[in-house]
């Protein structure tokens, strides 16, 4: 027999005791799968325990009377109606929406203009970027305590500055009308660095020829901003806006530290109310009912944000 024939024979009649190629492949695939899921295990367990399960649990407890240590009791929509009729409920949502709106007007317009100006400056670039981001690195609790001290009606810096300019002093965080704006100023001061840096990066990606062409067409400064800068950075603007809305809807540290929700509930936010229901009233059902409402609203914004980044990237997973 020739060697080729021998080989043919072997292929045609495989020895019985050797594993079949198909079985071999299957076993290898099983081992690969076991290894892959071994790598995944730790991370997935954390997601399951601290992300997926709590999301489901929030919805379940929202329909229960829940006190840690005793058996939960189904109560239908009682939690929702109780929370709904709480006078603080309307105040909390009104404050949260006002806070978000003011944060968009103040906390978005200022960094936007600042980035526009910084992009034109050719000196001290590193200085500006470091200084504007410095407050972001200060712990939020410290920023809040610091501004609480500035807003002090006695020796506070804020009123001192007004006196220096011969302006009437303000109650700042202690006045029912001014408390919320005062908190927005703190939040803006503490977080605008990130917005400025991201928007600056977007501004730098605008091709210079567009400005040149606009100028040749006789467009003045404001027209160039309107017809070149804003359309060219529209994606960054929209993304930063959505991120800011999502972040400010969850505001907690500033009202908790600076005003304690007062004066007269002027600064109680939804998240603060959730905290109060759980840890002051020991009413976890009510806290979860509120959480579910906040979740649905924020989920809608987040979905918008994800869709936006996804369409910009053109790929996902």
């Amino acid at each position: 027999m020739t060697k080729t024939a021998e080989r043919l024979h072997e292929v045609a009649v495989p020895p019985i005791q050797a594993p079949t190629p198909a079985g071999d492949r299957r076993r290898r695939r099983l081992a690969d799968q076991a290894r892959a899921h071994g790598f995944l295990l730790g991370g997935l367990l954390c997601f399951a325990l601290f992300s997926w399960y709590p999301a489901i649990r929030a919805v379940v407890i929202a329909f229960q009377k829940y006190t840690p240590g005793s058996d939960p009791e189904w109560v239908g929509t009682a939690n929702f109606t109780r929370v709904w009729h709480d006078p603080e409920f309307a105040a909390a949502w009104r404050n949260t929406f006002t806070f978000t709106l003011l944060a968009l007007l103040i906390g978005f317009a200022i960094p936007f203009v600042m980035a526009l100006v910084l992009n034109e400056l050719r000196h001290a670039k590193a200085f500006f970027r470091v200084v504007v981001y410095l407050p972001v690195m200060i712990p939020p609790v410290v920023s809040a305590l610091l501004w609480k001290w500035f807003y002090d009606p006695g020796a506070g810096l804020a009123n001192e500055a007004l006196r220096l300019l011969h302006l009437p002093t303000s109650n700042w965080s202690n006045g029912t009308d001014t408390a919320l704006v005062s908190l927005v100023i703190v939040a803006t001061w503490a977080t605008m660095g990130g917005t400025v840096l991201i928007y600056l990066a977007a501004l730098q990606s605008i091709p210079g020829e567009l400005y040149e062409a606009a100028e040749l067409d006789g467009a003045n400064l404001l027209q160039r901003i309107r017809h070149v800068t804003i359309p060219q950075t529209r994606f960054a603007i929209l993304m930063l806006m959505l991120l800011q809305i999502i972040a400010t809807m969850q505001v907690f540290t500033e009202p908790f530290v600076i005003t304690g929700g007062g004066p007269e509930n002027a600064t109680v936010t939804v998240l603060y109310l959730i905290y109060k229901y759980a840890f002051l009233y020991n009413d976890f059902g009510g806290a979860c009912a509120l959480s579910v409402m906040l979740l649905l609203l924020l989920g809608a914004f987040s979905a918008g944000y994800l869709r936006l980044t996804r369409s910009a990237e053109g790929d996902l997973g």
């Binding site: 407890i61 400056l121 020796a155 530290v257 979860c288």
Partner: protein
């Protein structure tokens, strides 16, 4: 020469343009110094004033006499070493857990084709739509059920469930050259060996970004540690500051605020170039 921006170089070169430019530059420098540096200066020097001087109107711009007593009192009376240590332990542990478990999971999802990988990734990405703060109450109940209250594990384990960092890692691993990894496998390297000796050394930039995000997130978080650490001795510095702020002398509190800010600000000043570049790059790409 940088690329052309809103204002043309020609307009800037004219005498009037030059004058406007330098006026704007000077005012922005002054504005930034007043808005961002002066509050920090006020805090650092306020802690060195006497209790009497700090409450005075109009305030003094420079302390009459420099007291370091505020800082000493804060360090001792407020047990700052204990709280700083707690914060370091919580941040370092969260960083280590996140780096190990998120990297392993991202590597599996990117390179090992696990069964149901798409579903799992979808489930992870879906959590991006659920802002963390909105789930603190049920998360707190879960941690309580597991007996992890007042335990640093209450910070470490939930920190791993960070879809943003995991996705950042996965996307980076996806872009690594396939042939390099395959060559290593042909040479007989196991999956763990490939991860350790090939993937991780190639992934230094993304690991740096994830590390900074992980550390800053723990150091800056307030609501979650406030909920899970009712035991004063276990509290991180942020929570302890708020709890103690009611019954402590103002200068001592301000000194404690300065001390609490130092670690992150120092980290930022050391790595500022990387951090600023990372935020600028990360932001536009989502």
């Amino acid at each position: 020469m940088t690329t052309r921006t809103l204002i043309s170089p020609a307009a800037l070169a004219r005498p009037r343009g030059k004058a406007v430019y330098w006026t704007v530059l000077t005012s922005v420098v002054v504005l930034f110094a007043l808005a961002f540096l002066f509050p920090v200066y006020w805090m650092v020097t306020g802690a060195m004033k006497s209790p009497d001087e700090v409450a005075r109107t109009p305030p003094t711009l420079v302390p009459e006499r420099w007291h370091l007593g505020g800082y000493q009192d804060a360090w001792q009376l407020m047990q700052l070493p204990q709280h700083l240590w707690n914060t370091v332990v919580q941040a370092a542990g969260a960083w280590a857990f996140q780096l190990v478990l998120c990297t392993a999971a991202a590597y599996a999802l990117s390179r090992l084709n696990p069964a149901f990988g798409k579903v799992i990734l979808g489930g992870i990405l879906a959590t991006l739509m659920v802002p963390a703060q909105a789930l603190v109450v049920p998360k707190y109940l879960t941690v309580a059920d597991l007996g992890l209250l007042n335990d640093p594990l209450a910070i470490w384990l939930p920190a791993v469930a960070n879809a943003f960092n995991l996705y950042l890692l996965k996307r980076f691993f996806d872009q690594l050259p396939r042939d390099v990894l395959e060559a290593a496998e042909i040479d007989g390297a196991g999956k763990l060996r490939v991860l350790w000796s090939i993937v991780l050394p190639l992934s230094r930039p993304v690991l740096g970004v994830v590390s900074i995000f992980a550390l800053v997130a723990v150091w800056q978080d307030f609501l979650w540690p406030l909920m899970v650490f009712s035991d004063t001795d276990k509290q991180p510095i942020g929570v302890a500051l708020v709890q103690l702020s009611q019954n402590i002398q103002l200068t001592v509190l301000i000194a404690a605020m300065v001390i609490a800010s130092i670690p992150m600000v120092a980290l930022f000043l050391v790595f500022q170039r990387h951090i600023v570049a990372g935020i600028s790059a990360g932001g536009t790409k989502g």
